[in-house]
């Protein structure tokens, strides 16, 4: 352990802004805080609340698919404009649209980048805070207009947006195309724009912090995978997001100012004509997917990084192939910009383009395969500890294999003709984003909880939570593959209206029962989480005996993070090193020394 005394490194930048030298008020400490850890926790609590909202919306969808048109108990009167507990078709399309919107824009992206990015980046690189603390605070508070605007959209005339989270025009661009095409759709666009502004602020901050504020000795190739993933994700955001924001503005002007960027000549809906034409609905799809395909990686790369850290820690073994893992993340990000067209194979774009997108999409499976093999290589020859975070991490790998392999079907253009817009796609992205990313996030909460709150979560109840979640989520999402193979389409309020899908109702009912139970067992997690914040056993600095720099800071870290000046001597994955007689070798421990407790501040 470095014994270099704490030299008030953080005073060099933003010290005054942090409010040192006078007793900070409750507002400046917990509400408008400039501390990256508080901001990270603000993001975490906000996203957990929206996770519940998104889950409830999903239950509405599952209810309708299992028992169409029958009154939904309790929630029926709450979801949008349901009458008598029954879900009308326009509410169903609102449910699918808003479930995806909430989960993507209010849960997955902000929990990965906002919560874990904020909390972990300075701690893991040895900085006292983000490069721009005020900008960091604003990145959280710019989420609030989005929360409020999207929240309010449920209560406006016609209800919230109903054109799918893809917001394809003309359905989304014409006010009268559907009930939710009115004010609800405008609010959706405004809300997504605010999320974009928040993400952009975060991205600039993350990139600058990681480049500029690393502790002495923390070279780029000594960064943990979590930080590499956050860094590359921030780069993706910074380059892809402006395209969506610009496209969103164009759609707003189509809706409000009478332009026709995305409307063909003579565009009509519900027997009413648009004010202008001359545009092209496909243009929106190109612009939308140019962001939203990289967004898929924005929603998975940080999870991959965190899982790499947890797998190495609980295998008590170095991460297998560190540099190839870094290169594969960079490869995914680079290729991520040239594969958007695979969402549009049957959209009507030039089919010759389909061939090029097929090749690039196939190739993006390659870095994902490398990562999977390297995770397996990390477990090989280790001493695996089945802690709760490790179980979630192994589950991530196990489920990501399914999600990754099912993606190959979609990359194959002729096969995609059949499975596009069916439940096969729904299965694929839920395997990547729910059974994948959500598993990683839950594991990461259990893993970094001691650092966040200074206490441990209950491991036994964590295992119960893991077991039930793992079994039930597979029961919900795996059968979706075979539904899709049968041609079962997405977003149908009553699929049994079609003769060919009528016999699929029992399977849908089974999946829905499992979905209700899946949501129900999350109560175990919620109780464990809040109980542990107040009553969990106190955690030391390094309860997992991990190598990362964050584990050398106090739990929870005070303002400025470190009570000593961290100096880095090695990478973060030196577990089981023959150089020392314990199975971990912290990044700050000098090469010849034994770990000594860091000096008290």
């Amino acid at each position: 352990m470095s014994t270099v005394p704490y030299d008030h490194q953080h005073e060099a930048h933003g010290h005054a802004a942090h409010g040192h030298g006078h007793s900070p008020s409750f507002l400046s400490t917990y509400v408008f805080s400039l501390d990256h850890k508080i901001i990270g926790l603000q993001f975490l609590f906000s996203t957990l609340i929206w996770f519940i909202v998104g889950g409830m919306l999903a239950l509405g969808v599952r209810w309708q698919l299992a028992w169409p048109w029958s009154p939904m108990p309790i929630l029926g009167n709450l979801v949008g404009h349901a009458e008598g507990g029954q879900i009308p078709p326009e509410t169903y399309t609102m449910l699918v649209t808003m479930h995806a919107t909430v989960m993507i824009f209010f849960v997955i992206i902000p929990v990965l980048a906002g919560a874990f990015g904020n909390f972990l980046i300075p701690l893991m690189i040895g900085a006292d805070d983000m490069a721009f603390p005020t900008l960091n605070m604003l990145s959280y508070w710019f989420m609030w207009p989005a929360f409020m605007v999207i929240g309010a959209s449920f209560f406006v005339e016609g209800g919230a947006a109903q054109s799918g989270w893809t917001s394809y025009p003309p359905l989304s661009a014409l006010f009268n195309a559907a009930p939710g095409s009115g004010t609800g759709q405008t609010l959706w666009l405004v809300g997504v724009t605010f999320v974009g502004v928040s993400s952009m602020m975060g991205s600039v901050n993350y990139m600058t912090t990681i480049i500029q504020m690393r502790a002495p000795g923390m070279t780029m190739f000594r960064l943990p995978m979590t930080i590499w993933a956050m860094f590359i994700t921030a780069t993706l955001q910074a380059f892809a997001l402006p395209v969506l924001t610009a496209a969103g503005f164009m759609q707003v002007t189509d809706r409000l100012l009478g332009t026709g960027f995305f409307l063909a000549d003579g565009a009509t809906a519900n027997n009413m004509a648009a004010q202008a034409g001359g545009g092209q609905p496909l243009l929106w799809q190109h612009l939308f997917w140019f962001y939203s395909h990289p967004a898929v990686y924005i929603m998975i790369l940080p999870a991959m990084g965190m899982v790499s850290d947890m797998l190495s820690c609980f295998s008590r073994k170095p991460l297998f192939g560190y540099k190839p893992m870094v290169y594969s993340i960079a490869g995914i990000a680079g290729l991520g910009f040239i594969v958007w067209g695979h969402h549009m194979f049957v959209s009507g774009m030039n089919p010759a383009l389909g061939l090029t997108f097929m090749v690039s999409t196939m190739m993006i499976a390659l870095p994902s395969a490398i990562k999977t093999f390297n995770w397996l290589g990390t477990m090989w020859g280790g001493k695996i500890q089945f802690t709760t975070p490790m179980l979630f991490s192994i589950a991530f790998v196990s489920m990501f294999i399914i999600g990754g392999l099912s993606g190959i079907f979609m990359a194959a253009t002729p096969v995609d003709i059949f499975i596009h817009d069916t439940y096969y796609i729904v299965a694929h992205f839920h395997y990547v984003l729910f059974t994948g990313t959500a598993m990683a996030v839950l594991g990461a909460i259990y893993f970094w909880f001691p650092k966040m709150f200074g206490r441990m979560m209950n491991d036994s109840w964590g295992k119960v939570h893991f077991f039930l979640t793992f079994v039930l989520m597979n029961c919900v999402f795996f059968p979706m593959h075979i539904l899709g193979m049968r041609g079962f389409p997405r977003r149908l309020a009553d699929p049994y209206h079609y003769d060919t899908f009528r016999d699929l109702m029992p399977l849908n009912q089974f999946m829905s029962w499992c979905a209700f139970m899946l949501v129900g067992v999350q109560i175990i997690f919620v109780i464990n989480f809040f109980w542990s914040i107040f009553f969990g056993p106190r955690a030391g600095r390094n309860p997992w005996h991990a190598n990362g720099l964050e584990w050398q800071a106090p739990s929870p870290p005070g303002h400025g993070n470190f009570d000593f000046q961290p100096v880095i001597y090695r990478g973060p994955y030196e577990y089981g090193s023959p150089e020392v007689d314990v199975d971990y070798y912290p990044q700050t421990q000098p090469p010849t020394g034994r770990e000594v407790p860091p000096p008290k501040h």
Binding site: P89, Y168, L171, A178, A264, D265, A269, N270, Q280, K317, P318, F320, G321, G348, P351, L355, M358, M362, M363, L366, I370, T372, F373, N374, L376, W380, G381, G382, I384, F386, I394, A395, V397, S398, I401, I402, L405, F409, A412, T413, P414, I417, F418, D421, K463, F470, P479, I482, R486, G487, R490, R491, L492, A493, P495, H497, T500, Y573, G576, P578
Partner: protein
């Protein structure tokens, strides 16, 4: 109690992860048995698509089983209490990583190139024949316009149908013109393995040769508004002579209606 159970069964978690490939394969086997599988294919190119699907299914199936079993085996063998040997202090293997980079790369590239012709046949090489029918999607119905005896659309002998029933011959090449009157729709014929988004302002082509007769659902696969779920049509594949007779019947019916309107 949980801790006691896990002590009694130390490899419980490894076995749980083994359940993933077991249940995964079992689900697919049962799905086939209970007919939750690819719908009956009645088109020539559908056979090619199904073959490609099975090719990828078997390939990815093998990779899925192997990787999941390896995951289980490592979880089983290297559990901290079971593994008494020192940790393999390894940062990776360059040669191993080269192998598992090149092998998937070659396989994926092969899959991509192997399928190009099927894609081109389905989307890039329309037959040089007159349009058999024009399909128009509108909220929330499929309208059909047959060219009539002159084989030219938008002439007075056209037959226009708005009842959602599409009649086409099987055993013959069919060329459809598809468009939208309002928002995006997607013309999906599961039993013919065909899908094409329908876009306002764009005329697109779709072609196939059906191999068998029967009546099948036409599905709208693109969210098109509140009534999306009920935008159902039926495609009726008839013998060529029956198809001609049906067209004649539709024309007579239309003429009778016109006469009735004139009166």
């Amino acid at each position: 109690m949980i801790k006691r159970f896990l002590r009694w069964m130390p490899n419980f978690w490894a076995l749980l992860f083994l359940a993933v490939p077991v249940m995964g394969v079992a689900t697919f086997v049962l799905a086939d048995r209970y007919n939750i599988w690819l719908p009956r294919d009645v088109s020539e190119h559908g056979r090619t698509i199904d073959q490609l699907f099975y090719f990828i299914l078997y390939l990815t199936g093998v990779v899925f089983i192997v990787t999941e079993v390896v995951l289980f085996y490592f979880a089983w063998k290297y559990e901290a209490k079971q593994n008494t040997k020192p940790v393999e202090f390894s940062h990776g293997s360059h040669s191993l990583e080269v192998v598992w980079t090149i092998l998937p790369a070659v396989t994926l590239l092969f899959i991509a190139i192997y399928q190009m012709d099927a894609w081109a046949a389905a989307k890039m090489r329309p037959p040089e024949i007159p349009f058999t029918c024009e399909v128009t999607g509108r909220q929330f119905n499929w309208d059909f316009r047959y060219p009539g005896p002159d084989n030219v659309l938008y002439t007075p002998d056209d037959i226009v149908r708005t009842d959602g029933n599409l009649y086409l011959p099987y055993g013959e090449e069919v060329l459809l013109k598809i468009t939208s009157a309002d928002v995006l729709h997607s013309f999906f014929l599961p039993n013919l393995r065909l899908k094409q988004d329908v876009i306002p302002g764009m005329d697109q082509k779709m072609w196939f040769r059906a191999t068998d007769g029967g009546s099948f659902d036409i599905v709208c696969a693109e969210l098109c508004g509140w009534g999306h779920y009920k935008m159902k049509g039926r495609i009726h594949l008839l013998k060529p002579e029956e198809y001609q007779a049906k067209l004649e019947e539709l024309r007579q019916e239309q003429n009778t209606m016109r006469v009735a309107e004139t009166k």
